[in-house]
Structure formats: structure tokens, C-alpha cells
Symmetry: none
């Protein structure tokens, strides 16, 4: 394990700057502060808070310790969709299985993938509320799920401890990883907004032609999200599919 060092120069600073940590509806300001500290120890600095239940307070600052700069620079937004604007990849940490799940990866594998994707654009690691985790609607927006291997009898990590483990794995992957393997013929990964735009257009088209009854949607939209995330859509494919949908609506 070369180049991980506490003493060596920071590798790939630009890659670290393309990683955002997103906390969805955190309950305890202390955990927000502890998250800032966990991030900074691993070289990360971009913290986004989605609708925190309570604002940053003295307890948060105490738990941030030497990472009050990360805490002070944290952005608060209203929804996970806003937090993911501009990203090409997001990993949702989950302790539970959900019916709409894509296959979860272990934290180490998911971190390696996310690290490799920083070469292509911005990535997010997404964490849910301390008690309730992430909602199904939030999970739907994340192309990947990750699980931390844990005691089957008690797998409930503290929120900031889970952030620490994921950021640790990400640091190892960013420092270890060489350039990602070249994929011949690969296009540009689609952004969150591009995927959302395609799905919104498909919904409108489906309603317009009578295929989808908005009063009885029968999981049409979640199913499209699940498929789109698994497919790792590229921008050029979004163009093709949106063009086809538009032509079909006219034709």
C-alpha cells in the first residue's frame, strides 16, 4: 500500500475534491460535526446536508474538533435530488434490503468503484437518518447501494462511524487506484439531471398516450429509475432515447 502516507504528499487532490458527502435528514447536530471530522481526516471537504432536523450548533462544532472549516462550508439543501445535482455517480449506504433494490455492494467494492469514477466526474456518498435510514425515493436516485460488513446480531453503526469507514475505504481506493481501465467506445456518464430529464419525459409520454394513469401509477417511475441506474446510462444514450420518445409522440 504505497502512497497512503501520513507523511507523503497528498495524492490526487483533485479527485478528493470531486467527492461530496451527503447526510439526509440527520437528527443530531453532534453527528454532523463528527462527520465533518471523519471526512477531513480522510482528505474530504465537501459536506451537504439535506433537510437536517436541527441546525449546526455548539455540539456539532465540538464534535468537529479540528474540522470546523468543513462544517462551516457545509451546504444545506431541501432534497437529495438537489444534493446530487451535477453528480455522475452516487453510493447510498444502507443496512437494510429494499424491494426496489439494485444489488448492494460491500463498502470496499463500492468505494473502489466510486474512486475510479472520480476520473469521469463528481460522485456522492449518501447517508440516511440515524433512525430511519434513507427512504425508498432517496435510494431510487442512487445508482449504487453499499453495505458495511457487520455483526448480523447488531449491525447498527453510528452515523459518523459509518461515514468514517466509507471515507477510509475511499481514501485507500483513491490513493491505491491507478487510472481506471479504458473502456473502448465508452461515452460520457449521464448526470443525475440528465437521467431525471429522460425519466420525466418518459412519464409525460406515457401519460400522454394513455399507457400510464397518473391516478394508478403502479410503480412505473420507480421501475424506470431502477432500470436507468442499473444501466449506467451515457449522455449519448439519453439523447438517443429522448429523441426517440419525442419522435414517437409526434409520429
Amino acid at each position: 500500500m504505497e502512497g497512503l502516507g501520513n507523511d507523503s504528499a497528498e495524492p490526487a487532490v483533485a479527485a478528493f475534491d470531486r467527492v461530496r458527502i451527503v447526510l439526509c435528514r440527520p437528527s443530531h447536530p453532534g453527528n454532523i460535526g463528527a462527520t465533518a471530522r471523519a471526512m477531513k481526516t480522510m482528505g474530504l471537504s465537501r459536506l451537504l446536508l439535506v433537510a437536517p432536523e436541527r441546525p449546526i450548533d455548539a455540539q456539532a462544532e465540538a464534535m468537529a474538533s479540528g474540522a470546523t472549516d468543513v462544517l462551516a462550508a457545509a451546504c444545506t439543501v431541501a432534497s437529495l435530488g438537489e444534493a446530487l445535482a451535477g453528480t455522475i455517480h452516487a453510493v447510498a449506504l444502507t443496512a437494510r434490503r429494499r424491494e426496489l433494490a439494485a444489488e448492494p455492494l460491500w463498502a470496499r467494492t463500492a468505494a473502489a468503484e466510486a474512486a475510479a469514477l472520480t476520473a469521469a466526474g463528481e460522485v456522492a456518498l449518501v447517508f440516511g437518518n440515524e433512525t430511519f435510514g434513507l427512504t425508498n425515493d432517496e435510494l431510487m436516485l442512487c445508482p449504487r447501494w453499499a453495505q458495511i460488513p457487520a455483526n448480523p446480531a447488531y449491525g447498527s453503526l453510528n452515523l459518523a462511524a459509518a461515514v468514517q469507514v466509507l471515507c477510509y475505504e475511499l481514501r485507500l481506493a483513491l490513493c491505491d487506484a491507478g487510472p481506471p481501465p479504458a473502456i473502448p467506445d465508452a461515452g460520457h456518464p449521464a448526470s443525475h439531471e440528465e437521467i431525471a430529464g429522460l425519466i420525466a419525459q418518459a412519464e409525460q409520454a406515457a401519460i400522454g398516450c394513455g399507457y400510464l394513469d397518473p391516478a394508478r401509477p403502479r410503480r412505473f417511475t420507480p421501475r424506470l429509475w431502477r432500470l436507468a441506474q442499473r444501466a449506467r446510462l451515457e449522455r449519448e444514450e439519453i439523447h438517443l432515447l429522448r429523441g426517440l420518445l419525442a419522435a414517437l409522440r409526434k409520429g
Copy 2:
């Protein structure tokens, strides 16, 4: 992710029971509680406290969350020597190099070594005071030092966060994390013919609405195939997409 341990689960459980976590002179009872939680999530239960500055209190119990059993069973001793009685190996976590130091190992390497040594006897992971770390006399008692790879500009992990990372690495080393959990609700993978049927229908629809000129196909079909294969389409999704295409053609 291969484990270093046995194939069967039983020896691994015994191995977990041969690991003790030692906190030397911790200042904050909250960190003792958070350590108990971090340990239990990774399957460890034996906590030793060397001369804690303050006793276990309500804050410690709050931070222990569902691991109050680990906290209640913690032993308090007067010196690190007592805490290491009966061990054959000890790993001291340190953030700093010391003049008397052997070269530290990275946490992952040190955890793998400690995990392997549980086959021979009891091992300890040793953590110092939040502010001052371990004394040179304490470090001297530990055959190994370990460092967590960290930001050279700010490498100060919270005590319980450092315990979480070490226990996580130890768990991975002690037992194969296994394949990701099966997804009960996953659909049936689509057959080749089902995918071919969808793509043929999309081609016909694209030609019918004027989006695709059969004389100048511009890789429309190869691009759909590439997308469909990457997406690992399920049968239910094929039905949804074919239904939508048919409705759009009529609408």
C-alpha cells in the same frame, strides 16, 4: 473479498472472542460508550479500560446505544501491562512516529496479522488517550504499531472512529464478508429472444415515426443492444418497455 480465516463460522466466532480492545486513560466517557458500539457492530465484545479519567456514566451509555452489554461487561485495570496479561500479540494504534519506534504497519496489514494470530492465542488492539495518545512506555509493551492512512494535514480521528476502522479491518480479516445478500424481489433475467424482441419493436417504432431512416441507421440498433446488455434487463422490464412502445405508436 477473501477472508484469511476458516471456512466455517464456528472457529471465526471463537477468534472474535480472542480479541480484546484496550483503551488507555480515555478522557471522555462518551468515547468509551461509542467504542463499545463500534466493537459490537463488528462482532467484538471484550473491552478493557486502563485507568479511565472518568467512570462510565449516562453519556457513555447513550453513546453505546445497543451495545450497553459490552459496556457493562468492560473491565477496568490500572495499567496496560495488566490489560495485556495472557495475550500473545498486541497492536498499538498511533498517529505519530516516535523515536523508539519500529516502523508502523498500515491498519489493514496490522489487522490481518492480528487476525491470523488469533489462531495461536489472545490478541489486543490498544488505543491511547484522546489528546496524548500512548506513552512511550505503553508503546514499548506492544509488539506492533499501526497507523490509519489519513490526511497529512489533519489526521486526528476521533477515538471511537479509530476503533471502528480497526475493528472493521479485523472483521474483514477474520471472516469472509461473503457474497452480497440475495435480493428477494429481483426479477427474472430476460432471455436473448426477449431482448431481441424489444429491440426489434423499438426499431420498427423508430422507423414508423420517422426517427430512424433505414437507409442511414447510424448505429441505432447496435447502440440499443449495447445499452440493453449493460442494463441486464429483466423480463418484467421488457414487458413494461414493450407496452409503452406499443401505446406510444397508437397514441
